[in-house]
């Protein structure tokens, strides 16, 4: 990643400004209007260069919807999503291409993240080919493999030959291929074994530090998000109800939703002390 991208600036690289998203539901009764679900209600959210931010909330709180808007596979009914200060919905083809290349994603289930009929090497090249990025693709693959801690033998293999943790590394590698500025990780460790989760969380943190990546980490587990990010937003019923440093959220939760999430965290220490379920 070139130096100018890493330059810290206070301008958000990716932001949602007052976004609202609604979905029409099926009628519950015959002669009523189709009810409208407001999944997001005037939400502001942003991430700055080199910053790692977290997004937590229960299922149905709107975090997946916000994610879909941020990565540009859905457009909000009102409000804008901006990338490098520009409205994603009104970009020129050129800028749009840059957006596509700069915002990449890692998803929850690593087994589903790779096409079982595509060799890992091909899968890793896909973003470069699709985005018509020039340069030495092989060299890029080697670099990225090194960054996620896999060796080159992986390239000739198929996904079923890997364990879940390795697959998640490959999925992260693929997301890194086009040299993105923002990495969106949606529950990247919840499908992994406990002993592997820490490896992947550490990897994500290292990437932020070493590559100057911006990271948006979405999770239901406050402690996972808190460990990896420096600023956390808590969502509940389509709104961001609280944003702050993880330590502050834990020690002084303001919103009810935050309190619920903090309360929900179980620790070994509380368990042994007999206070976990009090």
């Amino acid at each position: 990643m070139s130096a100018d991208v890493v330059t810290r600036s206070s301008e958000p690289v990716l932001a949602a400004c007052g976004v609202t998203q609604t979905y029409r539901l099926n009628r519950a009764r015959l002669f009523e209007k189709r009810p409208v679900l407001t999944a997001l209600d005037k939400v502001d959210f942003d991430v700055r260069p080199g910053e790692a931010v977290g997004l937590v909330g229960e299922s149905g709180s709107g975090k997946s919807t916000l994610t879909r808007l941020l990565i540009g596979i859905e457009a909000p009914v009102s409000g804008v999503v901006t990338f490098e200060g520009e409205d994603v919905g009104r970009m020129t083809a050129d800028r749009r291409h840059r957006f596509r290349r700069s915002v990449q994603m890692v998803l929850q289930d690593p087994r589903s993240s790779l096409d079982p009929r595509m060799r890992v090497g091909t899968a890793l090249m896909e973003p470069l080919r699709s985005l018509r990025i020039e340069g030495d693709h092989r060299a890029r693959v080697r670099t990225v493999l090194g960054q996620v801690g896999l060796d080159e033998q992986a390239l000739e293999k198929y996904p079923h030959q890997f364990s879940g943790g390795q697959l998640q590394r490959i999925a992260i590698a693929r997301a890194l291929m086009p040299e993105p500025r923002v990495l969106v990780a949606d529950e990247p460790v919840s499908a992994l074994d406990v002993s592997i989760q820490a490896q992947v969380l550490n990897l994500l943190r290292d990437l932020v530090d070493e590559l100057g990546l911006s990271l948006i980490l979405i999770a239901h587990d406050l402690s996972v998000v808190a460990y990896t990010t420096s600023r956390v937003s808590v969502m509940a019923s389509g709104r961001i109800v609280e944003t702050g440093r993880p330590a502050d959220l834990f020690s002084r939760p303001g919103a009810e939703a935050t309190r619920n999430l903090v309360d929900a965290v179980l620790t070994v220490r509380d368990g042994i002390a007999g206070t976990a379920l009090a």
């Binding site: 406990v194 989760q197 969380l201 239901h220 406050l222 808190a226 929900a264 179980l266 070994v268 368990g271």
Partner: protein, 329 residues
């Protein structure tokens, strides 16, 4: 409660074809005792639980001895087992949506367990079911009784599952990841409920989970499984504060907790390197040795057995002393 243990497992093996998924597991849960069985996917913890229930998938065989209610469960016919399942021995499954019959009302499903084992009429069974639902602190119990599973929330469904499991005051309840499929904020409520219900009835509890804090909150003893074997076993308060097996230690260290956060990015989460070995590619000697910082030649050659005493570990080079890290008291 009598002094007869809720369950006593001796040298349990679960075999599938040429492979052995559970390799010599032994433990005892005293009457009213609570044990956590901890392990990652493939460790054999769920197969151990299903062996106790006699519900292993076709093609898998349990060998060894499982003493429960005065008999060896592995020697019972399916009919004999059926009379015990749900009465002396019951199970709560991971995903309550798929575990409840989608085309039957919830009340009917609970009542049918009562009818089956208590030989009471359907009115009486319905009454008992209703009172169970009330005990589960479900809102508007009459409506819940008439609801279908899909009409309930995840937490409500799991309460219904717990009600079914408790209906006949079993000697042992096996809970297999009972909160994994639930929303985080609901998990604690369900655990609290299960905790109280088990206490009130004096049932034994076998909690199967990958989540150490849940075991710490719910159980008195813990057995840590790795690659089909118990690698460490003992009282929760001791195992989790002074682990002797490096694997247990690694699991405890790699939990992100509130205390790590104070450090805010300056330290790395300790992690266990490598990955869980597949059953058909278990390393020789101690199965954990490729991932173990303390491994030497002996570990690569010889598999350690659980040593004696109240704090047992299967390790040639067990750790000593208590955890100084931030994860335990």
């Amino acid at each position: 409660m009598s002094a007869v243990p809720a369950v006593q497992v001796r040298d349990l093996h679960v075999r599938a074809g040429g492979l052995t998924a559970v390799r010599g597991v032994s433990f005892t849960i005293p009457a009213g005792g609570r044990m956590g069985l901890v392990g990652e996917s493939g460790s054999g913890k769920t197969l151990t639980a299903l062996s106790l229930m006699g519900l292993l998938p076709v093609g898998l065989r349990a060998q060894g001895e499982i003493l429960h209610d005065g008999v060896d469960v592995t020697k019972l016919s399916d009919a004999q087992l059926s009379r015990r399942r749900g009465r002396t021995l019951s199970m709560v499954f991971q995903d309550p949506l798929s575990a409840l019959n989608p085309v039957r009302r919830v009340g009917h499903q609970i009542a049918s367990v009562i009818r089956r084992h208590k030989g009471v009429g359907s009115n009486e069974a319905g009454q008992q079911a209703l009172s169970l639902v009330q005990q589960m602190r479900l809102p508007r119990p009459e409506r819940i009784m008439h609801a279908y599973p899909h009409e309930l929330s995840g937490g409500q469904r799991q309460r219904v599952m717990i009600a079914m499991a408790l209906a006949c005051y079993p000697q042992l309840i096996i809970a297999d990841e009972p909160t994994t499929a639930l929303d985080v904020t609901v998990q604690k409520q369900v655990l609290r409920l299960l905790n109280e219900a088990v206490s009130e009835r004096g049932c034994g509890l076998l909690m199967i989970t990958h989540d150490l804090p849940i075991v710490a909150a719910m159980c008195e003893t813990v057995a840590v499984m790795y690659a089909g074997r118990i690698v460490e076993m003992g009282p929760v308060s001791e195992v989790f504060t002074a682990p002797r097996h490096p694997y247990t230690r690694g699991l405890l260290d790699s939990q992100p907790t509130m205390d790590n956060i104070a450090i805010d990015g300056s330290s790395r989460l300790p992690s266990i390197p490598g990955m869980v070995p597949p059953l058909d590619g278990l390393p020789a000697g101690c199965a954990f040795h490729p991932r173990c910082p303390r491994a030497d030649d002996r570990c690569r050659r010889e598999a350690p057995m659980l040593d004696g005493g109240g704090r047992r570990a299967a390790c040639w080079h067990p750790l000593e002393g208590t955890l100084t890290g931030t994860n335990a008291a």
